[in-house]
């Protein structure tokens, strides 16, 4: 992506905000998020865990109501929610100022593209979600730049995750598919790691695919993107060596998760690997605060399927379709490595 639409260049790999004031404002929003997720969260966690018996983690409305009214928790909740609202509002506004030029820079919209799944929501409070606006990919990219608090400005966090993904034991990696690739940061990292492989990124949202293609082209990375829901994979049976899904399953209904796993099992060849990075189900039982935080994210940060996913025994679902499933959980993050 180059030309008049990006007059102020890039911040990391994201298109810079249109004005200096917008960029400065978003620096402040990033700082606010850092305060909410740092010191304010620490205070809230301490108070929440002290407010209930940690030996018997209660769940449900009574526990949530008791924790939510603690002053430190209500402050954390409000500051985090406010920072999210400010983030999306200003990121959308800054690109809106140059909408026509930026839309012209995007890869052309695909005609005859499949319909967007009805379950898609305005995840993380992004207005219109991943699919509701042509500039959603740009907005999402800068929004997540702030989400990462500067730790992924040059895709370094995504690249590190991709570097840690286990390859099939036989070392054969001819085709790689990333499910729900969004703007393709991991997809391009996979191509850097497996240079000879055919690397695909799929996502149900057309704005994400258009931006992902534009971004990869600007980077000079030869990857392929397709607008496609993960539960409707168009790859042939046993044709793929490695499938990767990062933070997908907590954003789909449990029934859709079941269909996705079936599809991945179908397209993976024997010995192929399905690697899933997502939220750690142990979060529901680790502590009162941990359980509350996931509930809050579900209900107040527009993650409508998160809580149900965490309680769904995702490992058992994988176990019904793969011969070997390894689980590793640490804090809020978890990884399942399933071998076909």
């Amino acid at each position: 992506m180059s030309g008049a639409g990006v007059l102020r260049g890039y911040r990391g790999t994201a298109v810079a905000p249109t004005t200096l004031d917008d960029e400065s404002y978003l620096e402040a929003v990033q700082a606010l998020r850092g305060i909410a997720t740092g010191p304010l969260r620490a205070h809230a966690e301490r108070d929440a865990n002290a407010s209930v018996d940690v030996s018997a983690v209660p769940t449900g409305a009574p526990s949530h109501q008791r924790i939510a009214v603690l002053p430190s928790v209500s402050v954390r909740d409000r500051v985090l929610r406010t920072s999210q609202d400010m983030l999306w509002r200003r990121v959308a506004a800054t690109y809106e100022r140059r909408r026509d030029e930026l839309v012209d820079l995007l890869d052309p919209d695909a005609s005859g593209a499949p319909a967007v799944p009805s379950y898609l929501g305005d995840y993380h409070l992004q207005p219109g979600g991943y699919h509701g606006d042509a500039l959603a990919g740009l907005v999402y990219h800068y929004g997540t730049k702030i989400f990462w608090l500067g730790a992924n400005d040059r895709d370094e966090a995504k690249t590190a995750i991709v570097e840690s993904v286990p390859a099939p034991a036989d070392g054969e990696v001819g085709v790689v598919v990333e499910l729900a690739c969004s703007v393709g940061q991991s997809t391009t990292a996979f191509k850097a790691r497996f240079a000879d492989a055919e690397v695909w990124g799929i996502d149900p949202a057309a704005p994400m695919i258009r931006y992902a293609r534009t971004r990869a082209h600007r980077m000079g990375v030869d990857v392929r993107f397709a607008q496609c829901a993960a539960e409707d994979l168009a790859f042939g049976d046993a044709s793929v060596d490695l499938v990767f899904a990062s933070l997908l399953f907590h954003e789909v209904p449990v029934e859709v998760a079941r269909r996705i796993v079936e599809q991945v099992a179908r397209v993976l060849r024997p010995g192929g690997v399905f690697v899933v990075n997502d939220m750690n189900p142990d979060a529901l039982t680790a502590s009162p605060w941990s359980e509350y935080e996931r509930w809050w994210d579900t209900t107040h940060n527009s993650e409508p399927y998160e809580y149900a996913f965490l309680g769904s025994d995702f490992g058992a679902l994988l176990g019904r379709h793969f011969r070997d499933v390894e689980f590793a959980g640490r804090g809020i993050n978890a990884r399942w490595t399933a071998t076909r």
Partner: protein, 106 residues
């Protein structure tokens, strides 16, 4: 004319003892909290925006060279320094807020 006795807690003339913000049990009710946080956050962000303009480095001003302010070619390193400075700036503004959230509760 009488003189109030500062040692007498019942004396209505006696000024109230100063209460540290961190000692306030509940400083605002949730509906008001929403409004306070939103106003404070917006104010802090706008203040930083103004400060950012005032803090433009000499190099940036030279690079500006008469072009519109919004075409300043700020590099990643400068952007990173600015983001860190923004955090320090907002930390100061929100310090009292954070202190209020540190209140111990039964």
């Amino acid at each position: 004319m009488s003189v109030a006795d500062p040692a007498d807690p019942a004396d209505p003339v006696q000024p109230p003892a100063f209460v540290e913000p961190a000692e306030l049990p509940v400083f605002v009710e949730p509906p008001l909290l929403d409004a306070v946080v939103q106003v404070l956050a917006e104010l802090a962000a706008e203040l930083w925006t103004v400060k950012r303009r005032l803090d433009l480095t000499e190099q940036e001003l030279v690079a500006l060279g008469g072009r519109p302010l919004d075409e300043i070619p700020i590099g990643d390193a400068e952007a990173s320094r600015s983001a860190a400075a923004a955090r320090e700036f907002l930390d100061g503004i929100f310090r009292a807020f954070t202190a209020a959230a540190e209140v111990e509760h039964p």
